[in-house]
């Protein structure tokens, strides 16, 4: 799903593992509302996109976030062109 705002500011959002299954997508490009300045702002915005998104993002304590492939948290700033990834705590190795 791609939504573009008037000024064209957009953000890539990735989901992995069970979050990918809940949202039904591994990568989406979304319009970046002016009101969203960090990950914490972004979460309710994404949650409103579908029931699956809401379910995936329901408990942010069980979710890890990376902005541009570096770990972040709810306070990490997001700007146009960023890639924000949401995923469960990792279980490799």
């Amino acid at each position: 799903m791609t939504i573009t705002t008037e000024n064209g500011a957009s953000l890539s959002v990735r989901y992995f593992a069970w979050m990918r299954e809940h949202t039904g997508t591994d990568l989406e490009t979304i319009a970046l509302p002016d009101s969203v300045i960090n990950v914490g702002d972004l979460v309710p915005h994404l949650s409103a996109m579908s029931d699956g998104h809401a379910l995936a993002l329901k408990n942010m304590k069980a979710v890890r976030v990376a902005v541009n492939r570096t770990y972040g948290d709810l306070d990490t700033p997001v700007t146009a062109g960023d890639e924000v990834a949401f995923f469960p705590p990792v279980t490799g190795g």
Partner: protein, 148 residues
């Protein structure tokens, strides 16, 4: 420095030999394998998903931290992705140093951080059903012993 994420298997002997050098006194290796049906797990297969690009950069970051902490001659980290069967190799970490304790410590450090920071996720097949593996508090505890 060598960090590899791959679907194919790897040869621990070849990887160990590749780290041998005149300045190396010891190589500590860890090989993680898929536990299977005959264990308590009852797992018939597992599939590993990862975050291409971030996985490699996290593994390189972990390796760089290990190299800052210990005098290492070389490090190899290999992690497989895709579907794996019981008994198969999943991961190998190898640290070569002039000193045995540095090699052991670095290999453990890298495994502990790999387990908590490298973006891999396991889904297990059990009784014909697939389910995502939950992260373990014990892995966080293993990582946290290196800090503070």
């Amino acid at each position: 420095m060598s960090v590899r994420v791959q679907t194919g298997d790897f040869d621990v002997g070849a990887e160990s030999r590749a780290l041998q050098a005149e300045t190396v006194g010891g190589i500590a290796l860890f090989v993680g394998t898929v536990r299977g049906l005959s264990s308590d797990d009852g797992v018939t297969a597992m599939t590993l998903e990862h975050f291409p690009g971030m996985t490699e950069s996290e593994l390189e970051r972990i390796e760089a931290e290990a190299r800052q902490r210990w005098p290492l001659e070389d490090v190899t980290i290999i992690h497989r992705v895709g579907r794996l069967l019981p008994g198969e190799q999943i991961v190998m970490v190898a640290a070569a140093s002039a000193h045995r304790q540095a090699a052991f410590d670095a290999a453990q450090f890298i495994m502990d951080f790999l387990k908590t920071d490298a973006p891999f996720w396991k889904a297990e097949e059990r009784d014909g059903k697939t389910s995502w593996v939950d992260a373990k508090d014990s892995d966080d505890a293993a990582r946290d012993r290196w800090t503070g």
